[in-house]
Symmetry: C2
Subunit: 363 residues, 2 copies
């Protein structure tokens, strides 16, 4: 039995002005009519032998999560509220504790809520292929076969002399040699050239008991704290739970577990995947016109090339007209406008910080 855990706690300021503090990207219908959270839930729903999902989200998003899932007919097994964001390690560990109630030692499928996977069937096939290996006790992470030397992703290195583990679909699981942070361009190029690197998708698959054993070994202090947290939650002592949660370290599951654990395997997925980490990422997801432009919301483009002009559907339709742009990103919302070269898409954070400093309300 598979228990999906949807991590919906991200903040995503790099997609401002669409993403907001109170409305991060997983709650936006960024690429189609479904929000990314809804797409994540629907993606799982098609798997066999799967329970209702556990959803981890920030306390202030509880009603949005409930409403968005209801709208697509998904009833979560539980919505676990984080009083504060504490990165993925605490979220995954707390969700795992909840999963104890879902059945005897289920397999946990951990999925961030803010990823785009165009090839849903490819994703499901990958899950089915590696399920027996998760059942057998391995910690499995999904790697994406890279299509370009992206510097915005972390990478997973496959062991040089790894013995491929055959799986029913004819593909292989590989032993992981290392996890690498977002690389410099020259390192990314080396990774791609080596053929031994995959993008780190942040999706995981493992048996509850395997996770708890490995997590406890790698993080004895945190594991103990989490038991206190579970006690507090069972006792419905929210104040104490919040206090314990607040004291948890702000670290990723990659760092807290994957880099330390043994038996870590990666399955190479060749489905189209994207974490839509910044505006230029739309280039990997949206179709372009014959001049390489992405047009959303019917903007007027005169002599533009390789640009993203995103006129978001809002309460009031804005008229957007641009001319002579090359490699630019223009995003227009009801109450905010972003203009930035594609290769500066990461600077959206700086803009958001500057707007916050001056007390802007459009965050």
């Amino acid at each position: 039995m598979i228990v999906p855990i949807i991590l919906s706690g991200g903040s995503g300021s790099r997609l401002w002005p669409l993403s907001r503090e109170t409305y991060p990207k997983q709650f936006l219908p960024l690429v189609d009519q479904y929000t990314m959270l809804q797409s994540t839930a629907l993606r799982i729903a098609g798997l066999a032998d799967v329970t209702a999902p556990l959803v981890v989200c920030n306390e202030e998003h509880r009603f949005m999560v409930a409403e968005q899932l209801r709208a697509v007919g998904v009833q979560p097994a539980a919505v676990i509220l984080e009083p504060v964001g504490r990165n993925t390690a605490p979220a995954v560990a707390v969700a795992a504790l909840h999963a104890q109630n879902q059945g005897a030692d289920p397999i946990l499928l951990i999925l961030p809520a803010d990823h785009v996977i165009a090839d849903v069937e490819g994703f499901r096939a990958a899950v089915r292929r590696v399920a027996p290996h998760a059942e057998a006790g391995r910690l499995i992470t999904f790697g994406i076969i890279p299509t370009a030397p992206e510097t915005g992703y972390g990478y997973i290195e496959i062991a040089e002399n790894a013995t491929p583990v055959a799986n029913p679909g004819g593909r292989s699981l590989f032993r992981v040699a290392s996890f690498r942070e977002k690389p410099k361009p020259e390192d990314a190029a080396k990774y791609i050239a080596s053929g031994r690197f995959l993008w780190n998708s942040g999706m995981f698959f493992w048996r509850l008991s395997s996770f708890q054993n490995e997590f406890g070994k790698a993080n004895p202090v945190m594991a103990e704290t989490l038991e206190d947290l579970t006690d507090a939650l069972m006792a419905e002592d929210q104040a104490r739970a919040a206090k314990i949660f607040d004291a948890l370290p702000n670290i990723s599951i990659d760092y807290a577990l994957m880099e330390k654990a043994t038996h870590v395997m990666v399955v190479p997925g060749n489905f189209i995947w994207d974490d839509v980490g910044a505006w230029d990422a739309l280039y990997r997801t949206f179709p372009t016109d014959n001049k390489g432009n992405i047009r959303v919301g019917d903007p007027v483009l005169i002599d533009c090339t390789d640009s993203i002009i995103y006129n978001a559907p809002g309460q009031k339709k804005m008229a957007v007209g641009v001319a002579g742009l090359k490699d630019m990103v223009v995003v227009v919302n009801d109450d905010a406008v972003l203009v930035i070269p594609k290769d500066r898409a990461q600077d959206v954070r700086k803009i958001v910080i500057a707007l916050r400093d001056r007390g802007a309300t459009q965050l």
Copy 2:
């Protein structure tokens, strides 16, 4: 006695999205708290021996003109309504006919309503200096001493062997050799190098009788039509007046009179002047920050140079954030956004046309 004639009939689509079909640029507070029409009226009000202005505008702007002038305490002598825009020649000629009622052969000071003159006292001094020459029967046009080889202006050529006409202020009136349309860059450079060219400001100054004599000689057919028009207006036969007006040729006063008349003189004005014909013109009017950017409406700029970021005050304040821009124009309004390189500012027309074609309401 001076009778000012304010030409407020322009449409100004090149300043979209601020200027609109129903709200051309002369009605906008583009550079300070006054609209350009208001600034024009206030500029005249400081002259001695001046009557209330005659204002020529499009029929649909009658209430806006009345309200904007009322707000600055100016009561026009008359507001002459054009049923259709017919360029400056018919507007000036019709206004001249109205001016017959303002006194015995007054001097007419003709001013477009959509010009920026930062140095109001310099302008008034120029008017005072040349008034005796207008009284003496000369047709006077205001030339602006050019500060750069602009290609967006028409030019006035001073006769090579012109005898300067001394005037009380120590400056000179010059005989005009020719009027030149907006030049190519290489021609503009030659004009500036010669020292004999001034920008054509479109402001004129002449005695009513001198104008009527010269205009009648240069345009006998139109002059006759205008007499019919006057009869229709006197008889308050609006339908007939509209029909006659509609049949008038769409030509400028430069073309209809100045290029053909004798006794045409130009007074070189060295006051800062601009017709704000396109967004890049703001560069000649607004102060810049230490990186050459013009900022209006408190946008966030990260690493931008030589750009214009204009966040118009509207019913709803938009948040505008830009980064990494060079030589760009970004204009944001309540309901529309323009992004264009500075050197493509003329392409705003194309955007407006495209928006019109698709039935946009933000024109």
